[in-house]
């Protein structure tokens, strides 16, 4: 087992009005472990895209709108975020990489979320716990994190 440096979780109803709160949480934690502001922004973007996807699609057509769970775990040199839901089974990683230039030229308005996540994160995995939940795990490697290990998260 690696050294656990930080752990935080947030659970909220699947309503896009909560996106800003989730972004703020991710940004505050990421800012402690990444020196580069652009990386902080990119990790926040990836989580926002994954959560928005759950909020918009996971429970559509189901009798009840459920929750989305976001957990952040920092261990060794890994900043890991898991986005979980109990909605319809959906493996975002199975989406074929799109031809982004072509899509933008054609004026395609959506479907860029998973492309952005792949662009900015180092690893992305999907797990399905049978009859229970979808889990999208995204990892960003931390460089130069040693100096930040004792800093406090807001």
């Amino acid at each position: 087992m690696g050294e656990l440096k930080y752990e935080k979780e947030m659970v909220c109803k699947c309503d896009t009005k909560h996106l800003a709160e989730i972004r703020q949480m991710v940004k505050d934690v990421a800012a402690v472990f990444f020196v580069d502001k652009m990386v902080v922004g990119n990790v926040t973007l990836a989580v926002d895209e994954a959560v928005a996807n759950v909020m918009e699609h996971a429970y559509s057509g189901l009798p009840e709108v459920g929750q989305v769970h976001v957990s952040i775990k920092v261990e060794d040199d890994q900043f890991m975020v898991k986005v979980m839901d109990e909605g319809k089974k959906f493996d975002a990683t199975s989406i074929e990489p799109c031809d982004i230039k072509e899509a933008v030229k054609k004026g395609q308005k959506n479907g860029y979320g998973i492309y952005l996540i792949r662009q900015v994160m180092d690893e992305i995995h999907y797990n399905y716990i049978k009859d229970i939940k979808n889990e999208l795990c995204m990892i960003k490697k931390i460089q130069d994190c040693a100096n930040n290990a004792d800093r406090e998260v807001k």
């Binding site: 896009t16 996106l19 800003a20 972004r23 973007l45 928005a52 933008v104 004026g107 395609q108 308005k109």
Partner: protein, 116 residues
């Protein structure tokens, strides 16, 4: 918490200027989409959008501009983006959006370009 403020600064001679402030994400993008679609319905297809006070944009927000550009071009219109913040520019770069948009530093230059 600030969400999205949208102001139609001007709408003259077929050129509209919109100012945005806040977050352009999956929660707020429809507000902008509706305003742009209303302008298209009025026949206004040259639109400048000032992004200097947009703190955050996601793919849902960028998608509004991508879709609007394709629609505007069908009728020889144009969408010009003004002064995006660093965060917003980064998302545009990741999506390769900069290849289809003219991005300018101020409203005056944008309006001038759209009137040519």
């Amino acid at each position: 918490m600030a969400e999205l403020e949208l102001e139609l600064i001007s709408n003259d001679n077929g050129i509209a200027l919109i100012r945005l402030e806040g977050f352009l994400d999956a929660h707020t993008f429809e507000k902008l989409d509706t305003v742009i679609q209303d302008l298209f319905d009025e026949g206004v297809v040259n639109i400048a959008v000032n992004l200097s006070q947009v703190e955050y944009i996601s793919s849902a927000g960028a998608g509004v501009f991508i879709g609007a550009m394709a629609q505007a071009q069908e009728t020889n219109g144009n969408i010009v983006l003004v002064s995006p913040t660093e965060n917003v520019q980064e998302v545009f770069d990741l999506l390769g959006v900069s290849q289809i948009f003219t991005i300018l530093d101020n409203n005056e230059d944008a309006k001038k370009l759209l009137s040519e």
